[in-house]
């Protein structure tokens, strides 16, 4: 690279051009370190944080008071939409104060508004029996657990939280009565798993 030095004899426009060229040459010989020696940028970091989903039991799955057995099997099915169906040897028993109406279990869900969630239930559980005399009765199987959410009743085990982040669901099921049913109070605990989906 060469530079033409400014000439003292030049005047006016000619001198101005030469001086400009001289400065430019100096700048090019020592690159940058002027206006273009610095640059900045804004990065961006993003995240979506959502509240944990929670589920609270509101009501038990209750098969009521019934009789059955006597050498024949039977079933009682509690529907999520309400009502119970008896089959085989199973029959409802009403006491002096009336009938204890079977009903589905009820759960309340709370989480991030607008988020979808799924409910998972076990395929079957066993209810342990306690006889009136304090003994132990053979267990009874509860299966065919069904789930019906308020927000998506036709979608089985999935729902969507409303604008307040709430929803609910019912759980029904079928209690299998054995032919040799022992009179007792039967109780079972079963886990319900709710997660965003």
């Amino acid at each position: 690279m060469w530079c033409t030095p400014p000439t003292q004899r030049l005047q006016g426009v000619a001198r101005h051009l030469l001086m400009t060229g001289g400065f430019a040459c100096a700048a090019a010989a020592t690159p940058a370190l002027a206006a273009g020696n610095m640059a900045s940028a804004l990065g961006m970091a993003s995240a979506t944080v959502i509240a944990p989903i929670s589920v609270t039991q509101v009501a038990d799955l209750d098969f009521g008071t019934l009789t059955g057995g006597h050498g024949a099997a039977g079933t009682i099915t509690v529907a999520t939409g309400g009502g119970a169906t008896y089959a085989g040897s199973a029959q409802a028993v009403c006491g002096a104060t009336g009938c204890l109406t079977p009903h589905a279990a009820r759960f309340a869900v709370r989480g991030e508004p607008g988020r979808a969630y799924v409910v998972t239930a076990p395929a079957s559980i066993t209810a342990n029996g306690s006889t009136l005399a304090g003994g132990t009765a053979p267990g009874l199987v509860i299966d065919a657990l069904t789930i019906r959410t308020d927000s998506r009743p036709a979608a089985s085990a999935s729902g969507i939280l409303d604008g307040n982040g709430t929803d609910g669901f019912d759980v029904g099921g079928t209690l299998e009565l054995t032919p040799d049913l022992v009179p007792a109070r039967y109780r079972a605990w079963f886990p319900m798993l709710v997660s965003y989906g």
Binding site: C25, A28, P31, G36, G43, A45, S46, V49
Partner: protein, 183 residues
């Protein structure tokens, strides 16, 4: 000397100089810092407090949070480009100082996010990027008009949550400055 003679004497050197001056002024050397991808932490479920680290290599680690998928988590990318302003191919070594500014926590709808533990794959022994502490990086053997290097930046996002959820956006400012050009 006559007026015409003086004009000729002036114009000759001016015309001789113009191409030189024109070439030099066309593109002065320049440094550019271009943001590429954003740093994404994805979607996480936080009970009270937790953090997610997305490293410069893209590795994701969680602490006290429940992930809602890893697919969208990724480090940020930036490109530093030096334009020498001419097409000459003289090898240059460009030393650049890179500085990340401090980033205040961001709070929204009961959720607060804080960035820390920045790391980068820039090389040259630079692993952590500490806000306010510049690091030097050298582009060596630059023989083209524009020499550039892309680098990734990862970080840890610490989250505290009192109520609800929120989408957080943080904007870490980063500056690059030429320290020396040798060649």
């Amino acid at each position: 000397m006559t007026a015409a003679g003086l004009r000729s004497a002036l114009l000759a050197p001016v015309l001789a100089l113009l191409p030189v001056a024109g070439t030099i002024h066309a593109a002065p050397p320049a440094l550019d810092l271009l943001p590429g991808r954003e740093l994404r932490f994805g979607t996480v479920v936080v009970t009270d407090a937790g953090s997610r680290m997305v490293s410069a290599s893209g590795a994701v680690t969680n602490d006290s949070i429940m992930p809602m998928g890893f697919a969208s988590a990724r480090p940020a990318s930036f490109t530093i480009a030096y334009d020498r302003g001419s097409d000459e191919n003289r090898p240059l070594s460009i030393t650049i100082e890179i500085e990340l500014s401090s980033i205040p926590p961001v709070s929204r709808s009961g959720v607060t996010g804080t960035l820390s533990d920045f790391d980068t794959d820039l090389g040259g022994g630079i692993t952590p990027l500490i806000p306010g502490q510049p690091v030097s990086y050298t582009i060596t053997n630059c023989t083209t008009r524009i020499c550039s290097t892309e680098f990734q930046v990862g970080a840890r996002l610490s989250i505290t949550r009192s109520t609800g959820g929120a989408s957080l956006s943080l904007y870490p400012p980063i500056t690059a400055r030429i320290i020396a050009v040798k060649g």
